[in-house]
């Protein structure tokens, strides 16, 4: 599970985003964080990948989770 590519699209003001990032950190899982409040290209990428505009969006390899769904995140990480 160490080689999974985890990306999170977030905003600095979003509590769910912070919880998702804290959760990944706690589990020792490295991730790339894109701040879509400032990065317009990444907003477009997030909308294109998830088909919606709410944050956070978490990508585990090619799979997309909309929102901080801990159960789903655990499932994808342990695959």
């Amino acid at each position: 599970m160490a080689d999974k590519n985890v990306v999170i699209y977030s905003t600095p003001t979003c509590p769910y985003c912070k919880r998702a990032k804290d959760y990944l950190s706690q589990k020792g899982i490295p991730y790339t964080d894109y701040n879509v409040a400032t990065d317009k290209d990444k907003i477009r990428e997030m909308i294109q990948k998830s088909g919606q505009m709410g944050v956070p969006v978490i990508a585990v390899d090619d799979e997309i989770i909309i929102g901080f769904n801990q159960a789903k995140l655990d499932e994808l990480l342990s695959k």
């Binding site: 905003t11 509590p15 769910y16 505009m53 709410g54």
Partner: protein, 304 residues
Amino acid sequence: MYELMIIGGGPAGIAAAVYAARKRLNTLLISGDIGGQINTTMGIENYLGYQFIEAPELIEKFQTQVSQYPIDQKIGDKISRLKKIEGGFEAVTETGEQYQSKAVIFATGKRSRQLNVPGEKELAGKGVTYCAICDGPVFAGQRVAVVGGGNSALEAALDMVKIAEHVDLVSLTPLTGDAVLVDKLGDAKNLRIFAEYQTEKIEGRDFVSGMMIKDVKSGKSKQLDVTGIFIEIGLVPNSAAVDGLVPLNKWKEVPISCASETTMDGLYAAGDVTDVPEKQIIVAAGEGAKAALQAHRYLQRLET
């Protein structure tokens, strides 16, 4: 069969779980998430013990505290129906799982109220959002609308005028939020206020492209070109799972006694889903603790 099932993972449910665990009740905590409505706020300055704490940090502390006890947790699934069965209760979840217990604490809190207009459901997450603090920055530089006239709506509008190209504030009633917020909005150049306008529908194919509003007095409709719509029109209780099992009040809250009892033996309720006045984290936590102690007494009585 569990002795106690706690439905809901906000401050009421977590406090109840901590108290239940300390009474060594065989307990199941079941909830869609941990933290509940705390997840939609950022800074908290009125929870005892902390002059200021960020919401995610407080939720983590709640989670750490409850997780040090040996109670079962089922997080990520929601109860769709609670039923009375012989000797207790049965909860059925959205994924179809079933759990039984002798007593229940129902602490499911509240959620954002929806407008119930055409296009809203289809475009939720696609320009329609109920968490301005979360999704606001995604709409930087765009034309957006905020629907509502209370403090949450005014605060969302205040945040958005700083980053959006233009903000339309649409309220069915005259603005009801605090005067200090209304005054602050008065300075914004990129804001129009449509007070006493009803939202008729939300438009867009894949994403929001606009909305129709109607002047309540003249009956005239108006089209707004917006790509983001923030709906801030208050909260509704998550009480559907017990509707019919116990009577609800006119706001669909679960009425309880001062001892956290509903009208049904063994079914207790706590926090924002109940008719207890004042929706606050500290009130919900206290109510949860009380419900757990009452449920403990009930379970002791069952044994004798």
